[in-house]
């Protein structure tokens, strides 16, 4: 229900999706200038840039989605709605995931094109890495963004809290993707990182569902 509401607002205005998307593309370009020398990218640059772009635009999207709730004070209304708090969390999480999924659908082919990265060589492993990595990032991000809604200087604090906690996701995502994109792909290594991401997702979603209720109660 929460997801549907968020998606409906998003379809009407398309504000967050356009801004986030443009931001992600700009990110890719800025990093491309940093890592391309004489027309050739540094080894593994594609994987790194992909995940940095996801992390940065994810932070932006999380901030915007909850800012919208705060401006109209609708989060309070959502909290008063007759449903479980964990359901509210899951709804928000799914909304953020769909948004980030749209962003990834654009920037992954873009990076493949610009860095000659063979992104479609192992489509299923690649897609699973992206999905599990994004879930891990958004699971922690949604919880912190929701709790920061009432805090001062929330826009600065979100990345400060989010990045140290999600470092394992970034490491696993980058290493796993890099293993797939290197000239001789190393699928067992990519699968190992994938299993670690799955494990991370399980632990952190459980923890988030567990702490969401006491943390959001005043």
């Amino acid at each position: 229900m929460v997801t549907r509401k968020d998606l409906l607002i998003e379809f009407r205005s398309r504000e967050v999706v356009y801004t986030t998307l443009f931001f992600a593309v700009a990110c890719v370009l800025v990093f491309a200038f940093g890592f391309v020398r004489e027309g050739i990218a540094v080894d593994d640059a594609a994987a790194g840039i992909l995940w940095i772009a996801i992390a940065f635009s994810g932070t932006l999207a999380l901030g915007r989605t909850f800012e919208r709730e705060r401006q109209n004070d609708t989060l309070r209304a959502l909290m008063l709605a007759p449903m479980d708090r964990p359901a509210l969390y899951v709804g928000k999480l799914v909304g953020v995931l769909l948004l980030l999924g749209a962003v990834e659908a654009v920037i992954t082919p873009l990076i493949g094109l610009m860095f000659h990265a063979p992104i479609f060589r192992f489509p299923w492993v690649m897609a699973s890495l992206l999905v599990t990595g994004t879930v891990g990032f958004a699971a922690v991000g949604t919880l912190f963004a929701a709790m920061l809604v009432r805090a001062r200087s929330r826009d600065v604090l979100l990345p400060i809290l989010l990045y140290p906690i999600t470092i394992p996701v970034i490491i696993a995502g980058v290493r796993g993707t890099a293993a797939l994109l290197q000239p001789e792909a190393d699928v067992p290594i990519a699968r190992m990182w994938l299993s670690m991401l799955v494990f991370f997702d399980l632990v952190f979603i459980t923890l988030a569902l567990w702490t969401f209720e006491p943390a959001m109660t005043e």
Partner: protein, 229 residues
């Protein structure tokens, strides 16, 4: 809330003073103990930093565990006093972590030839330290209601440690193993034990002092409020 010191307060003060004296004595004696310890065969003088480096990380981990447990008490039991302990422990984790992060590269420059290695132990220690810095920033700038948020952060930080460690462990490790500590000969082991006790004592003394300060501050706030009514 009582204004004057109660009997248990007096007892705590006595205990605190005793601990303070013991810790001060240990720290005063530590340089002599370290000087008398034999030189390590391959590293020589630089190895002596180990007597302060490892104990500062021991104190840091102690602080981290105290902070995590108090954080859990704040969220799930709604304990106000646990929050004061968590804040004090987080501050100490940053201080002791900084000591470890400064002494580590000093040794690494001599032993490895570089200040920093992207090594499992180093990276996970750095990330953990960053989590506690973030904790303090949150406490300072998030305004009212930051206790619960920071408690959740402490809890997530705890859960994060094994993942960071695991994820960087796939890279090679050049940091000496922790098992080194168990195999020390007595001439090095005893000074090390002394230093560890000194750091743990320092941690306990600072924690107690900091918690007391917060408690007094809270009671002052309460007195102000009752005056205004």
């Amino acid at each position: 809330m009582g204004v004057g010191p109660t009997r248990s307060d007096k007892k705590m003060t006595k205990l605190f003073t005793a601990l303070l004296i013991v810790t001060a004595a240990l720290f005063a004696y530590a340089p002599f103990a370290i000087q008398n310890a034999p030189y390590e065969s391959t590293m020589g003088l630089v190895q002596k930093i180990f007597y302060f480096h490892v104990p500062s990380w021991i104190a840091m981990f102690l602080a981290a565990v105290v902070c995590g447990i108090s954080g859990a008490l704040v969220i799930f039991a709604g304990r106000k006093d646990a929050d004061r302990v968590a804040l004090a422990a987080a501050e100490l984790a940053v201080v002791f972590g900084l000591m470890g992060l400064i002494t580590g590269p000093l040794w690494g420059r001599k032993a490895w030839g570089v200040w920093w290695q992207w090594d499992a132990r180093l990276t996970s220690a750095l990330v953990m330290w960053l989590v506690f810095v973030a904790y303090l920033l949150l406490r300072k700038y998030a305004g009212a209601g930051s206790e619960k948020l920071s408690a959740v952060l402490a809890l997530f930080g705890m859960a994060n440690v094994p993942f960071v460690y695991w994820s960087v462990n796939v890279w090679r490790t050049v940091h000496p193993k922790t098992s080194v500590v168990m195999t020390l000969q007595p001439s090095m082991g005893i000074p090390f034990l002394l230093c560890s006790l000194a750091f743990v004592g320092l941690f306990a003394v600072l924690l107690a002092a900091r918690v007391r300060l917060e408690k007094v501050r809270a009671s002052v706030d309460e007195l102000y409020l009752s005056l205004e009514d």
